[in-house]
């Protein structure tokens, strides 16, 4: 089982490029389907976020296995790993990390271009749709699995007319690891 997964990962690194469109088109089809299924944009945003969360809690294992990153010492290190390693590995882009709060518990990721939105235009009746909401969920779910509760939201979105896409991440608290039942 292990070697087969390794083989797949190796294959992926060599041929990964050709699947980028498959991912973005599939994501587009998902958003379209959700817009059909749910009555308003808020609900679609919520569903995308939830699905992203489900993906994130599994993606983190893939990330840790492929990147051999150890435990981050603080939130600043976490920010760097997310921007320079995770985003690079999965989306092929390196957002910049900026706008740190004075307390050091909140920062922004600025994406010059967002691979999810290639060739996408929001129709007029979906002005409150946050198209890339899946990303927020992925980040939240992944970080929860490494004991960090975070809040993630889009502060700016090129699809809604902003010049860049800005993801704002806020550290809420550390999640205690579950103690074995016997220790209660």
């Amino acid at each position: 089982m292990q070697s087969r997964n390794e083989w797949r990962r190796m294959k992926g690194r060599r041929e990964g490029a050709s699947n980028s469109e498959l991912f973005t088109l599939t994501y587009g089809a998902l958003v379209t389907q959700l817009c059909k299924d749910y009555e308003n944009d808020e609900e679609v945003n919520k569903q995308l976020d939830k699905m992203g969360y489900n993906i994130g809690v599994r993606l983190i294992e893939d990330f840790l296995a492929r990147s051999s990153i150890g435990r981050c010492q603080d939130f600043r290190e976490t920010a760097d790993v997310i921007a320079k390693v995770a985003f690079k590995m999965y989306l092929g882009i390196t957002p910049s990390v900026t706008n740190w709060s004075p307390a050091g518990d909140e920062f922004s990721l600025i994406l010059e271009n967002n691979p999810l939105v290639d060739f996408v235009e929001l129709p007029d009746n979906h002005s409150t749709l946050v198209y890339s909401s899946l990303l927020c969920g992925v980040l939240r779910g992944a970080l929860e699995m490494v004991q960090m509760a975070v809040d993630v939201r889009f502060a700016q979105d090129t699809l809604r007319g902003d010049s860049v896409t800005e993801i704002r991440m806020k550290f809420i608290k550390r999640i205690e690891e579950n103690l074995p039942a016997g220790d209660e």
Binding site: G16, A17, N19, L22, T26, Q33, G92, D118
Partner: protein, 199 residues
Amino acid sequence: MTTGEETCVMCHLCKLADMQENLRSDWGDLRRRHGGMADESLFDFLHMEIVSHIYKEQQSGKEEMDNKDRAVCVSVLESMGFRVGQGLIERLTRDSPSFKDELDVMKFVCKDFWTKVFRRQVDNLRTNHQGTYVLQDNTFSLLTQLSNGKQYLDQAPKYLAFSCGIVRGALSNLGLDSVVTAEVSVMPSCKFQVVVQKL
């Protein structure tokens, strides 16, 4: 291998050379158009979550799903795949010349298209030369994560509906109306059956 009406038309020797060429040109094309390239695993994760979501939503409130529910799920996934297939083939055939016949279209789907979408070429293409084609992929990329063998065989159809749609969508844009179904007996090997609809 020939068996009466059916003929195997894939030439395994020229596959490797073709594949290298396709990968090089795909890479160049993508890099030119945008800097970011999504990792292959992202599609796998997204696809599995989409399947999970569709089935959960259909089941919501009910104790069990019946065949009608399952049919709805498969249909939704298939039509999502259809749109994706159309989009994918559009980008792939922008600069390509037109095809000389139906078999030519199928070969293109088995080689160039399959490589772009499913990361490899179809292993075996059979046809009865009367509009029915069977495409066999022995290591179908969407099944390799599920199992190796017979485990989870009953789950396989859920994970093939989207791909059937992709193939049908691609063929549709190439001028062929078809019905596409898939069958698995041992994972991750999969057979897609394409029946081209005559007017």
